[in-house]
Amino acid sequence: MSTPQPTLRDRAWSAAAAVPDPELPMLTIAELGILRGVELVDRFVEVTITPTYSGCPAMAAIALDIERALHEAGIENTRIRLVLAPAWTTDWLTDEARAKLARNGIAPPGARGSNCLFDNTPVPCPRCESNATERIAEFGATACKSIWRCTACREPFDHFKCH
């Protein structure tokens, strides 16, 4: 009994799904929810992606990385399609992605809807899990992160903002 060969579409999905995010390299674009689909359209392998933020400067780099990964997997005739709907939110992050963020010292986003002023929803420290943390700055190294510090273990850390 022979194992069925993976289809072109499946091979393309595997290659695209394994592409790391350029700004959060511990996550793949599939785990991050940026990769929306891989289809065969008019002899093209069409990869559909969605931006996290409207102005995300990484989208061009991600598109190039996907094309390179597909070519390295021996897949030619590729094209990238950008879609906006349904809009990306942090709800698209898989549980595995959240666990990976925490393991890498980045507090994962909580539940959406906490947009109140001077928001004091606790963000647990990714190192010591204490809730005794405070926000230092609304924006950090990338648009998707804010900077926090833990008053228990005294370590500063990044928080992947709820969006």
């Binding site: 409207s54 102005g55 906006l84 002023l117 700055a137 609304e138 648009a143």
Partner: protein, 258 residues
């Protein structure tokens, strides 16, 4: 050699989309002027990140405008190859940064409107606009939170910060009328459910102002006289200077890539 300006089609939906793109681009550019100059590093990052979001929203809107116009123009053509009178942004967003209080109050007045506007636009009859709106809502939510928190800190801070915030509010408030005015060319789009009716947005904007200004200890200006003209291409002198700086490179070196 200088690149010539482009002419754009006369179409109502196209003009409405272009106007919203211009709002986002011009405000985004203004905020980017703080890059490297903000009062502290955290605010430098914050203002640059908000600028990036706004320019991102502008790009989505320009791309959609290009598909409506179908004249082979790109987002760069709209941004770099139109003259001041061809821009349709409201006058508020082109006002100079001034001091930090002016920047924050301008940002707050706009964000309180933009958040309510994009929320209403998620149910637009135009699927492309509804998708751009859905993308913009969460971004405008934290733009609003950032500006509102700073409005409260400045208004309720020191005597100096309070005075500066009140001066900024008094100076910029007359530019808020344009957000709710309906150009004659947009009435059909509102009736058709493509554009949100500003009358339905005003209550949320007013409620936000009443709450935030009260908490900040700032007095809402009583004057009802409002500036207008941006949506018709009649701008303050500030836009020409802004565009000169923004457009100099692509106009001087057509097709330059970096």
């Amino acid at each position: 050699m200088a690149t010539t300006s482009i002419a754009v089609v006369d179409d109502r939906l196209f003009a409405a989309v272009l106007a919203r793109a211009d709002d986002a681009l011009i405000l985004g550019h203004r905020l980017s002027e703080w890059c490297g100059h903000a009062p502290m590093l955290e605010e430098d990052l914050a203002l640059a990140n908000i600028a990036l979001d706004l320019i991102g929203q502008a790009r989505l809107l320009y791309e959609y405008a290009a598909t409506i116009e179908n004249a082979g123009h790109t987002e760069d053509d709209y941004a770099y190859r139109r003259d001041p009178h061809q821009f349709r942004n409201i006058l508020l967003v082109e006002q100079p940064n001034g001091d930090f209080a002016h920047t924050i109050i301008r940002q707050y007045l706009y964000s309180a409107f933009a958040h309510a506007f994009w929320q209403a636009m998620t149910s637009s009859a135009d699927a492309a606009l509804a998708a751009i709106a859905a993308k913009s809502v969460p971004e405008s939510a934290y733009h609003l939170r950032h500006a509102a928190e700073w409005t409260i800190r400045l208004g309720d801070g020191t005597e100096e910060s309070h005075r500066r915030a009140q001066d900024a509010l008094d100076a910029l408030f007359p530019y808020t009328g344009e957000m709710f005015a309906i150009p004659e060319t947009e009435t059909d789009l509102i009736v058709g459910g493509i554009l949100a009716d500003p009358a339905t947005i005003r209550p949320a904007w007013t409620a936000s102002l009443d709450r935030i200004l009260a908490e900040a200890g700032l007095a809402k200006p009583q004057s009802t006289w409002m500036q207008s003209g941006g949506r018709r291409g009649r701008h303050s002198e500030h836009l020409g200077h802004l565009l000169a700086e923004m457009q100099i490179l692509p106009r001087s070196y057509p097709g330059a890539i970096w």
